[in-house]
Assembly symmetry: C2
Homo-oligomer: 191 residues x 2
Amino acid sequence: MEQLINYITSKISLSPEAKDYIYSISKKRIVEKGAVLICEGQKVNKIFFVTEGCLSSYCTDEVGREHTLQFAIKNWWISDYIAIYNNERSQLTVESLKKSQVIEFSTQGLEDLLIKFPEFEVFQRNNLERHLVSLQKRILNQLQLSASERYDVFVQQYPDIESFTPNYHIASYLGITQESLSRIRFDRGKK
Amino acid sequence: MEQLINYITSKISLSPEAKDYIYSISKKRIVEKGAVLICEGQKVNKIFFVTEGCLSSYCTDEVGREHTLQFAIKNWWISDYIAIYNNERSQLTVESLKKSQVIEFSTQGLEDLLIKFPEFEVFQRNNLERHLVSLQKRILNQLQLSASERYDVFVQQYPDIESFTPNYHIASYLGITQESLSRIRFDRGKK
């Protein structure tokens, strides 16, 4: 929890009351590799802040192929935001790619936090802005970069993710086949 | 301006002081087809709310190809958010695709608005959430749908955009060639 509090106080000042409230609406969880935190088809009432490890969110199409929307490493938030903001059931699965540590919040708890402590709005806005920038950059990269250039950007952004992430997750994030990913890696001198 | 005020009051309650302040930091602009509101390479200090018409944002790659990030129709905001939030120069061009009416805000004005009238934080958060959902949906569609399925989603989302938007803008938004777009349209019985 201390990491989250430090993260928040690096962005906004935090009263002792607000700090206590954050403790009251969240809990630390250790999740094993492969643990599913949100299932496709469920009502989504949880948001996770990653303090260690890596989670991913993906959807599964009609023929069972997985398509990775997001990787969340340290200091990132993850959930199914489409489901939360549109009040729909989850299209996504959120899964832990390695043993990880997260702070779990209820969506209701976070909503109440914003009402009780409006100073959090600035923090939340900054999170959303950062997320928006990351999504826009990803779309622009998808549109204008070649597969191998996208791979290079990805490796720069997530330096050690390849050591614990199945190839199909990375390929599906990049929007390429596993064979293309293997070829690109071979060209980069990687096994 | 009345349309913007109505749009805001449909989301949050607005004091007369806040309303006056919005008037003081914004101006209505009629922009002709082809007008460039933000140029690649410039410092970005404007955000536009579309009340009529359609604007687009796109980047231009090394060989001069344009890649469309966003179309903004009525009640949408548009700017170069990557530049604003990362304090970088613009990578994007924002252009009017037809004669349009926009409300122009200075980014500084909007920042001051949030400080002076913190009730706007909720409005801004909802805008960001809506934008985030739209970007995530677009990425998921790009990953899991075929080009023709993406075209169908696009036409549903922007019903009359084809009547005034050059093919290369639509093709570049969908991440396909103009030839593919023509084939898909031909299959749909369109010219």
